[in-house]
């Protein structure tokens, strides 16, 4: 195995391949920065190049682009409060506040470092213990998935730590938006009002651009107009300091572990892992009241989680031949183009290429970190552009992100509606994040629920009979009600005050 891994490295480290990987990371990051254009769009664009390259080079290009665009998504979260993709929604909470405090550099840097640590951890796990731990992914059937998603939603319901009612309302609204379109189980059209444009549902990007981008642009405009726009503190340093790194290291480690564990379940995805990791972080770390106020750990944790999760989703694909969501769809496409049918025998039949892929994941991770050293500097300068020039451009680019989804005017109208609603929610302190998570999970949640009930012949007992599912549901209940029980504890009062002040 080591021979093969070393051979893989020998291929990945060829000068041409290194150069390609570097370009891939750069292009991926730059495109990933554009809201609405994520890894999938980027890779679709690059597929023509793949055929003109040797298989190993092609894989290296695809992995590095993928890593780059995943990272790029967090950049806009931090700089302009608009998540570049769903896995970076949580990053906006602390990331943008950091940027406003003049710490865009450290925020971007910690995202890069966290991504590097988490990504490398995921590949290490894949390399050494991939096959044994991959069996764990199979433990999750419909009932367990349902419980996991309920758990995810409940952690978010207490996300803000202020008003559970508002969180539940937002979550519920997100789930309701998710039911629009053709039912994935039966094929029945729901809430489409006969409009064919609504049949494939409301995309996450449509709502997220409305609620984050439009809202942010208008709020900034209001603040500029009223003269209340907080002056961005002049950045004193661009890269992260050693003490900041040590401070965020526990958050990175926890994010990495939770991200990996959740990301390995086929279909659970990087987004869910960021939400769960961030909320667990809030319960586990020291001084949780600082999270949400521009704390560097609030960037380190979800960014590590999403990178670990996307790396982890490759574990079942490569070891068991089971495709999940996210990264696997992309890698699966790449492998199939190179005539590799995914399956449990992939390592035996196509060892050389699979090991090159793994080696290129190490290389991609490292290059991304090296590349970001100078890039952070460039991106952090975006904060110096006066909002009156930056914001209109952000608005235009965000609109293109929505338009490019399916070239539909209906999507644009929905974005506008989401923007107005998002503005109201933000002004009156309804949290937006639970709505987004509800929208993302809604379809799968309902599907898992119905599948579980088909298996159990309609009995809800299936959710408590299965130990994993029972454990997760108990955890969910604790998350929802523990804050109420803890209300008297000093720590919680402090957290509440800081959250409201923010």
């Amino acid at each position: 195995m080591f021979d093969q891994l070393l051979n893989g490295f020998a291929t990945a480290l060829l000068p041409l391949n290194l150069l390609i990987a570097l370009c891939g990371c750069l292009v991926g990051t730059l495109i990933g920065v554009l809201p609405g254009l994520g890894p999938t769009a980027t890779l679709a664009m690059l597929i023509p190049l793949v055929f003109s390259m040797p298989p190993a080079t092609a894989l290296i290009l695809l992995t590095s682009v993928y890593y780059g665009s995943m990272y790029g998504g967090s950049t806009t979260s931090i700089l302009v409060n608009i998540p570049g993709e769903s896995a970076s929604v949580i990053t906006t909470i602390d990331g943008h506040k950091m940027a406003m405090q003049g710490r865009a550099g450290p925020a971007l840097a910690v995202a890069a470092i966290g991504s590097f640590i988490a990504g490398t951890f995921a590949v290490l796990m894949l390399t050494f213990v991939g096959a044994p731990i991959a069996r764990y992914a199979l433990l999750f059937g419909p009932a367990e998935f349902f419980a996991l998603m309920v758990f995810g939603l409940c952690t978010v319901a207490s996300l803000t730590g202020t008003n559970v009612t508002k969180s539940i309302i937002a979550t519920c609204l997100g789930l309701m938006i998710a039911t629009i379109g053709i039912d994935l189980v039966s094929g029945a059209a729901r809430f489409t009002f006969g409009n064919p444009f609504l049949q494939d549902g409301v995309d996450f990007v449509v709502v997220a651009i409305g609620m984050f981008a439009l809202t942010e642009v208008v709020i900034t405009a209001r603040e500029v107009h009223a003269g209340t726009r907080a002056q961005i503190v002049k950045a004193d340093k661009v890269w992260i300091s050693w003490s900041e790194f040590l401070y965020s290291l526990p958050a990175i480690v926890r994010g990495t572990v939770f991200g990996f564990v959740i990301g390995m379940l086929p279909g659970a995805g990087a987004t869910l892992s960021t939400f769960i990791a961030y909320n667990l972080e809030k319960r586990l770390c020291k001084n949780p009241e600082l999270l949400g106020t521009g704390d560097i750990r609030g960037v380190a944790n979800p960014e590590s989680a999403n990178n670990a999760a996307s790396g982890a989703s490759l574990v079942p694909l490569l070891t068991l031949g089971l495709p999940g969501g996210g990264a696997t769809a992309v890698m699966l496409g790449a492998l199939m183009m190179l005539d590799i049918t995914p399956g449990p025998l992939m390592f035996e039949k196509h060892g050389a290429i699979v090991w090159t892929l793994i080696a290129s994941m190490y290389v991609g991770n490292t290059l991304l970190l090296l590349l970001n050293w100078p890039l952070v500097n460039v991106f952090a300068r975006v904060m110096r552009i006066p909002p009156k020039f930056l914001m209109p451009t952000v608005l235009v680019i965000s609109t293109i992100g929505v338009w490019s989804l399916s070239y539909s005017a209906v999507d644009l109208v929905l974005t506008g509606a989401a923007g107005v609603l998002g503005y109201y929610m933000r002004v009156h302190k309804y949290p937006v994040e639970p709505l987004i998570l509800g929208l993302i999970l809604g379809g799968r949640l309902e599907q898992a629920y119905r599948q579980a009930l088909i298996i159990s012949a309609g009995s809800n007992m299936i959710f408590v009979e299965k130990p994993i599912s029972l454990g997760l549901l108990i955890g969910a209940a604790l998350f929802l009600f523990l804050p109420m029980l803890l209300k008297r504890s000093k720590q919680f009062v402090a957290a509440q005050e800081s959250a409201e002040a923010a």
Partner: protein, 182 residues
């Protein structure tokens, strides 16, 4: 009307709106077609019905606002009316009716420009709509110099159009500029 009372009123209106949305949503579940499904298992209606009910309950909760009422009673008893103000809009703006609910010409203009852009972009075409948006929005953001406005809007429009169309293969509508051989 003091601040706390206005916050309470707003919570009630929110509750009412949520209740109405939930009602409409539940009503619409009747229009979901029935397909074959295994007996005793939830169909395409079950989940929406559940969601609609939860949403309606939440709306009702806000409409009644038991926690607010409790807080008001407590506040009256303690004589600290300020404690209630913490939750909803803390700082109420003064001025006319429009200003008090947060509407002034600038606010309306901002949203009008943004929503009009989203509405008219597909028909008007990307270049024209974007140019107009950039000029108007930057103006609303307080840039008074027209030559800067127009120059910048033109530059951004062209760079973005070319970049997305040729660099990223995004199909952007030309709209009224359809006749141009681009």
């Amino acid at each position: 009307m003091d601040i706390a009372a206005r916050g309470l009123l707003r919570t009630r209106i929110e509750g009412l709106v949520i209740l109405l949305v939930a009602g409409g949503y539940l009503w619409e579940t009747f229009n979901i077609p029935d397909f074959y499904q295994l007996p005793d298992t939830p169909g395409p209606k079950t989940f929406p019905e559940l969601l609609g009910l939860v949403f309606a309950v939440m709306g009702l909760w806000l409409l009644i606002s038991p926690s607010d009422i409790m807080a008001r009673i407590r506040a009256k008893r303690d004589g600290t009316a300020a404690a209630v103000a913490a939750e909803p809009s803390a700082a109420a703006p003064s001025g006319g009716l429009l200003a008090r609910i947060g509407l002034d010409w600038h606010f309306v203009a901002l949203w009008a420009v943004v929503l009009a852009y989203l509405w008219f972009m597909p028909d008007l075409g990307f270049p024209v709509a974007t140019f107009l948006l950039l000029v108007l929005f930057t103006r609303l953001l307080g840039e008074p110099r027209w030559h800067v406005l127009i120059g910048l809007a033109l530059a951004v429009t062209i760079v973005v159009y070319v970049g997305f169309k040729y660099g990223l293969n995004v199909r952007l509508p030309l709209g009224v500029l359809e006749f141009l051989p681009i």
